[in-house]
């Protein structure tokens, strides 16, 4: 499986159904990843939709030198950081809507985190600083290599190494004996 590159080639050749398979494979994971940045599920979904529309509007920007997943996560992360920069004010949710937001998040977690243990770890990861969260998520939840994670986060491999080392150290403290899960 090449994480959508072959499907994208088919899409570029004119097969529009190939785009559907790309979305099925990568969309929810991207939304989950972006939620870690913007902490707003609807905003994360919007950003993911914009990221996927980049694939259609700027068809020749992706040069197939990295995996399509890596490329999408790179673009998505940039959009998320721009969103954070332009929307620094706090968003208020009415109490009546709070339950629906919680439900939405739960359903997304159901889609991405099928394993109960992963849910526990993910809850612990959410307490980490943003960059550590992103690094752990990309390596352990999205199965990216260190190089791919470095490309997404625009850092070098050594920096990803350091982030993961510190994240594991923190998680051992948070999870206690359950730190062995990682």
């Amino acid at each position: 499986m090449d994480n959508g590159a072959s499907s994208y080639r088919r899409f570029l050749d004119g097969d529009e159904s190939a785009f559907e398979s790309i979305m099925q494979e990568l969309f929810h994971g991207l939304v989950f990843f972006l939620h870690g940045y913007v902490h707003d599920i609807h905003a994360a979904e919007d950003l993911a939709i914009d990221t996927f529309s980049d694939l259609i509007v700027h068809k020749h920007r992706y040069n197939f030198k990295v995996k399509l997943k890596t490329y999408l996560y790179m673009v998505g992360r940039s959009r998320a950081l721009d969103y954070i920069k332009h929307n620094k004010r706090l968003t208020f949710t009415e109490l009546s809507q709070a339950q629906s937001v919680s439900d939405t998040m739960s359903s997304l977690e159901d889609m991405v985190l099928a394993d109960e243990r992963m849910r526990i770890v993910h809850t612990a990861i959410a307490t980490l600083p943003r960059d550590m969260q992103a690094a752990v998520h990309l390596i352990y939840f999205e199965d990216m290599t260190y190089e791919e994670a470095a490309k997404v986060m625009k850092r070098n491999r050594k920096q990803i190494d350091n982030l993961l080392y510190r994240a594991k150290k923190e998680l051992r403290i948070i999870l206690g004996k359950d730190g062995d899960l990682l």
Binding site: F27, E45, A48
Partner: protein, 193 residues
């Protein structure tokens, strides 16, 4: 509530088409703005270049026109001086073309010999006016008529007798010695008396 995957996909395509339309519109507006701008710039630069080229050609022509060393017009040919001799029994007028400058120099020598610088610095010519001559007859009698045609078009006339050289223009008469007369005969190829 989260959208379904199909709804999200439809939204992706909808936003993509909207962005493509906007890009085409922006490109069209930019082109509409740039074309007249480029045309204006081209016209202005063309005017500047033609104006500069015109002034440069004028400036280059001016030094040539006012070059002090090249005063003589190349179109004018300076013809050599000639001396025509007649009178005093000569059967016909003949032209002397050799050593014309020598003849002119000899005449100038006769004239300058008679010129005296006064105390005030002015130069006067000591001549014997025709009216004061006592013994001989008219200085122009038995005289050769010498006509010098200069290359610049000027003409000077003299009468040469055994004892006098007369300038027809100023009517001044310059006495000459026998040696000077012989020198004239020699240089003009005239028979000795």
């Amino acid at each position: 509530m989260m959208r379904t995957l199909q709804e999200c996909q439809a939204e992706v395509f909808r936003r993509s088409e909207q962005r493509i339309r906007e890009r085409k519109k922006r490109r069209k507006h930019l082109l509409m703005l740039c074309i007249p701008l480029v045309l204006c710039l081209t016209a202005v630069s063309g005017l500047l270049i033609s104006g500069f080229g015109l002034s440069k050609s004028t400036d280059e022509a001016i030094p040539e026109m006012f070059d002090g060393e090249s005063v003589t017009s190349p179109a004018v040919n300076v013809s050599p001086d000639t001396v025509e001799v007649s009178g005093n029994g000569l059967s016909h007028l003949y032209t002397v073309e050799e050593d014309v400058q020598g003849i002119i120099d000899l005449i100038d020598k006769v004239v300058s010999t008679m010129q005296v610088t006064t105390a005030t610095g002015s130069v006067i010519t000591e001549t014997t006016p025709a009216s004061t001559m006592v013994t001989e007859a008219d200085p122009k009698a038995n005289a050769y008529h010498i006509l010098i045609r200069h290359g610049n078009g000027r003409v000077t006339e003299y009468s040469l007798s055994e004892t006098f050289l007369t300038d027809h223009a100023t009517l001044q008469t310059f006495p000459i010695t026998a040696d000077t007369y012989c020198a004239f005969m020699d240089i003009l190829n005239l028979p000795f008396p």
